[in-house]
């Protein structure tokens, strides 16, 4: 998440364009307000709460939760980086057996909700599961207590399971950058005798760092905010402690206080990373017209590359997806598909698509004008606009309730004055609430991804266009948007799939009688039989596949056109 304002050359030109500056400030302000509103009501909750719980929290809850959360995040970062960056580098720059298929299979774990992955792996690896049952049969054990087997419901299990379904955030952002950055650097280094590792370590990796940072930040925030998988796997994270503080310790105010403290830490960490990155900033010459060819790999190198890409796909997608498919078939769910499930599918896709369009618009509107007409004051606004992802879904939803109802009351007052009609809760009581919620939560994806894309784009483009007298709109239309298309498509996919599987906000904010696929799965899971929801889970995966394929085909089409 990079909040970069203009370079020195542009600043001179921008100084003259005060109308532009006002416009960009206004847009950034609007985007920030959208996310700032729920945060403000969280702050109100936090301030209404007292501090009497804190000695207890500090003595008994937070130390353990902080350590567990830190270990979880470090572990997930390692898994997601390994499973995301290496395959992205390989599929973008090299040719090896299975590359084409693997390239579009690699993002698919994104469509598997973390709590579903946790259920599936517990089913497979728990004492009663097929793996341990087979071991008992082979070695003649009678009970699951007679031998040691790594417990899947544990911190280690959570790291592996969550890491293997969130790595696509890293893969997608890194791949887009590996593809658009001049792979020619890496290629020339490689042909000049550098090893594959050297060209990766010293050329490709530094160039892709902004994108990798964005992807990792998204992956880690997903891990941080997860509640279902952490609770199920018995990991006492800070997010879980926010919930227990609210629901069991009976202090919504205290929960809001922890949530805000956590948010402050996350914001600080992201800012630190950004500063560190700016100090060693590398600006690439993106897509300067040279055709990127992929280097063919042979022999052991090719086999290793195939393996490195196949392992994340196998564990993140094929195993959980295959398990769901088996359960769906076994239960006859596919032959007897319920009409309510199809309605849920249509609702889910419509909501996700609408939210994606809004989220992308916010991402573009909040970042590009600022590059053209930089305003210092806009920086903190953008930082605020990027915070939605760092707040646990249910907490963000709680924060959104009051602003939405306030909006409704305003609308009712207006309609009462103007037409003598009471509209009721047209915002808070309709699906509009969900679109607002998804936008508040996922705008940081589009803002972060667009910023990373812009950071890679040489400023000479803007400057020469501006010197030739091009206005903001033509510059945006003919230069920025076309160059950003791959990055934007990547962001669209992330947002769309995130909306498809979003559960906590949808549960709390959806209108009466509206079910999405995620809430349908939830209904089965609460009855202790999530497998009965296998088909709904599969439908999330299926709905996620077309945009993935679309995304994977796009840059290739551009390459051949050149």
């Amino acid at each position: 998440m990079r909040f970069d304002t203009g370079g020195p050359a542009l600043r001179g030109a921008a100084g003259r364009l005060s109308a532009d500056r006002i416009a960009s400030l206004t847009i950034a302000l609007a985007a920030a307000a959208l996310i700032a509103l729920p945060l403000a009501s969280l702050m109100r909750l936090a301030m209404a709460g007292d501090s009497e719980l804190w000695p207890h929290l500090i003595a008994y809850v937070l130390p353990h939760a902080i350590v567990q959360t830190a270990l979880l995040l470090i572990g997930v970062a390692a898994v997601a980086a390994l499973a995301g960056i290496v395959p992205a580098f390989l599929v973008a720059g090299f040719e090896f057996p299975g590359r084409k298929v693997l390239e579009w299979l690699l993002p698919l774990p994104l469509a598997i909700p973390t709590y579903i992955a946790a259920y599936v792996y517990a089913d497979i690896l728990d004492a009663a599961g097929p793996v341990q049952s087979a071991l008992r049969d082979v070695f003649g054990f009678r009970t699951g207590a007679e031998y040691w087997f790594p417990p899947v419901r544990s911190l280690g299990g959570a790291i592996l399971i969550i890491g293997l379904v969130v790595y696509p955030y890293v893969y997608l952002t890194a791949r887009a950058l590996f593809k658009t950055q001049s792979a020619s650097f890496a290629e020339s280094a490689y042909t000049m005798g550098a090893t594959l590792w050297q060209s990766f370590r010293y050329i490709s990796l530094p160039l892709a760092r902004p994108a990798i940072a964005v992807g990792l930040a998204l992956a880690l925030l997903e891990a941080l905010n997860d509640i279902g998988a952490a609770e199920y796997l018995g990991v006492q994270t800070l997010t879980l402690s926010i919930f227990t503080t609210w629901l069991n310790r009976g202090s919504l105010g205290g929960a809001a206080q922890i949530a805000l403290a956590l948010l402050a830490v996350v914001t600080l960490l992201i800012a630190l990373e950004r500063t560190a990155r700016r100090r060693q900033s590398v600006e690439g010459d993106v897509q300067d017209g040279t055709v990127t060819r992929r280097l063919p790999l042979t022999g052991r190198a090719a086999a290793l590359a195939t393996l490195a890409c196949a392992v994340p796909v196998a564990f993140g997608f094929v195993i959980p997806g295959g398990y769901l498919l088996r359960e769906a078939i076994r239960r006859g769910l596919i032959s007897g598909i319920e009409p309510s499930l199809l309605t849920a599918l249509a609702t889910t896709v419509a909501l996700a698509a609408a939210a994606t369009v809004v989220v992308l618009a916010v991402g573009i509107a909040a970042t590009i004008p600022l590059r053209l007409a930089p305003v210092k004051a806009a920086r903190p606004l953008l930082a605020i606009a990027s915070m939605g992802y760092a707040v646990p879904g249910t907490v963000l939803a709680l924060g959104l309730l009051s602003p939405l109802v306030a909006g409704d009351e305003l609308l009712n007052w207006l309609s009462g004055k103007l037409a003598g009609v009471q509209l009721g809760l047209v915002l808070a009581g309709s699906s509009a609430a969900l679109i607002v919620a998804y936008t508040a939560r996922f705008s940081s994806i589009s803002i972060g991804v667009v910023q990373a894309g812009l950071a890679q784009m040489p400023r000479e483009f803007d400057e020469s266009a501006r010197l030739e007298g091009a206005g903001i709109w033509p510059l945006l239309r003919h230069i920025h948007l076309p160059l950003l298309t791959p990055t934007l498509t990547g962001a669209a996919l992330l947002v769309f799939v995130d909306c498809l599987k979003e559960l906590p906000m949808t549960l709390l904010m959806r209108p009466l009688n509206v079910e999405t696929l995620a809430t349908s799965i939830y209904q089965f899971a609460t009855r202790g039989s999530f497998e009965d929801g296998a088909l709904a889970a599969l439908l999330i995966v299926l709905a996620g596949i077309p945009p993935v394929i679309l995304l994977m085909r796009m840059p290739d089409a551009r390459e051949t056109r050149r």
Binding site: A353, L404, L512, E531
Partner: protein, 338 residues
């Protein structure tokens, strides 16, 4: 990528969401913490009998806050919840109004309703022990005994902060006081075979697979397991023991109903509450969800009756609800989940 078609379907979703709640006659809006899969058959039966349509939102937390935020415009008529602590909190949040119904007072026993009528319990479940048939000879147990070192490394349980366990620990405090409850909880912790995790179904599964000998779970899960072909073997490998508190009975908790303060369809809402306490619905609670019906004279499902006669703990539910926070603090203090 998604323009015209989705604009239309979105509009449809928006309109459907915005128009249906408050305007039409003959409907009732339910905010529910209970599983839709369980409750929907009840609502369907109610609609076909009365012609009153039931609109539902089900969630796992935050519905009280939603109703509170929505204020006077809230479409909510009823809040269906589980757990006495939660029910009392909803009342404390000021989102309820008294339910006045002589018919209800006749069929819901006094200990299962608020003296001022702010909540009525509808069904009941017990928190019991799933014991390995093979490895556990005992046929009766006390909750106190769960801390006995003879069970070292033999007990499985989900998170101590889950509301089911929270209420059990709160009941222990209500019986024996905080200091003794802390000792007990430490003892139970020392007896655990693994870190608290999973849900009641995982607990049963772990007992069946021999990971532990005793598991703590709710009665209805056991009933559900017996009718699920995949889970049947877990039920077959275990037996249910109804533990009791020394000098008390088996810990029970309830599902209940709260009438929203600004309920726009109050008459229909009252009708639904009365119907849920009626004979047909109570039979469904017993036979579809394997709960204990609250209405006297309704047969308990045979699968549940097979556990033996339930001697429900006479400790008043509101006393248990009062210890909810203390129970949560104890779980923190002894690091039960760590």
């Amino acid at each position: 990528m998604f323009k015209p078609v989705h604009a239309v379907s979105l509009a449809a979703v928006l309109v459907a969401g915005a128009v249906s709640p408050a305007l039409a006659q003959g409907e009732v809006n339910v905010y529910s913490y209970r599983e839709t899969k369980l409750i929907q058959p009840l609502f369907d039966a109610f609609t076909s009998e009365t012609g009153i349509k039931v609109n539902v939102i089900s969630a796992s937390s935050g519905l009280e806050q939603r109703i509170k935020s929505e204020g006077e415009n809230s479409p909510a008529d009823l809040l269906l919840t589980v757990d006495i602590g939660r029910i009392e909190e909803a009342v404390k949040a000021g989102i309820s109004q008294p339910i006045v119904s002589a018919a209800l007072d006749k069929v819901v026993p006094a200990q299962f309703r608020d003296p001022e009528g702010h909540w009525y319990a509808i069904s009941m479940r017990a928190r019991v022990v799933y014991a390995s048939k093979e490895r556990v000879q005992q046929t009766s147990l006390t909750y106190e005994e769960l801390a006995d070192p003879k069970w070292k490394g033999k007990i499985c349980i989900r998170s101590g902060q889950h509301m089911y366990n929270n209420a059990l620990i709160a009941a222990y405090i209500a019986h024996h006081g905080e200091a003794k409850a802390e000792e007990w909880l430490k003892g139970v912790k020392a007896n655990l075979a693994q870190k608290p995790s999973g849900g009641d179904r995982e607990t049963a599964r772990d007992v069946a697979a021999g990971k532990c000998d005793l598991g703590i779970g709710n009665t209805y899960y056991y009933g559900l397991m017996q009718v699920n072909p995949q889970q049947k073997p877990w039920a077959d490998a275990t037996k249910v023991i109804l533990p009791t508190f020394q000098g008390g009975g088996t810990h029970v908790n309830v599902s209940g109903v709260v009438l929203a303060k600004h309920a726009p369809h109050k008459a229909q809402a009252l009708k639904l509450i009365e119907w849920l306490a009626g004979e047909k619905a109570q039979h469904m609670y017993a036979d579809v969800n394997y709960e204990y019906p609250l209405r006297p004279g309704i047969a308990i499902n045979p699968a549940i009756a097979a556990f033996g006669t339930l001697k429900a703990d006479p400790m008043p539910l509101s006393k248990i609800a009062n210890e909810k926070k203390a129970a949560a603090a104890l779980v923190d203090k002894v690091g039960f989940d760590n």
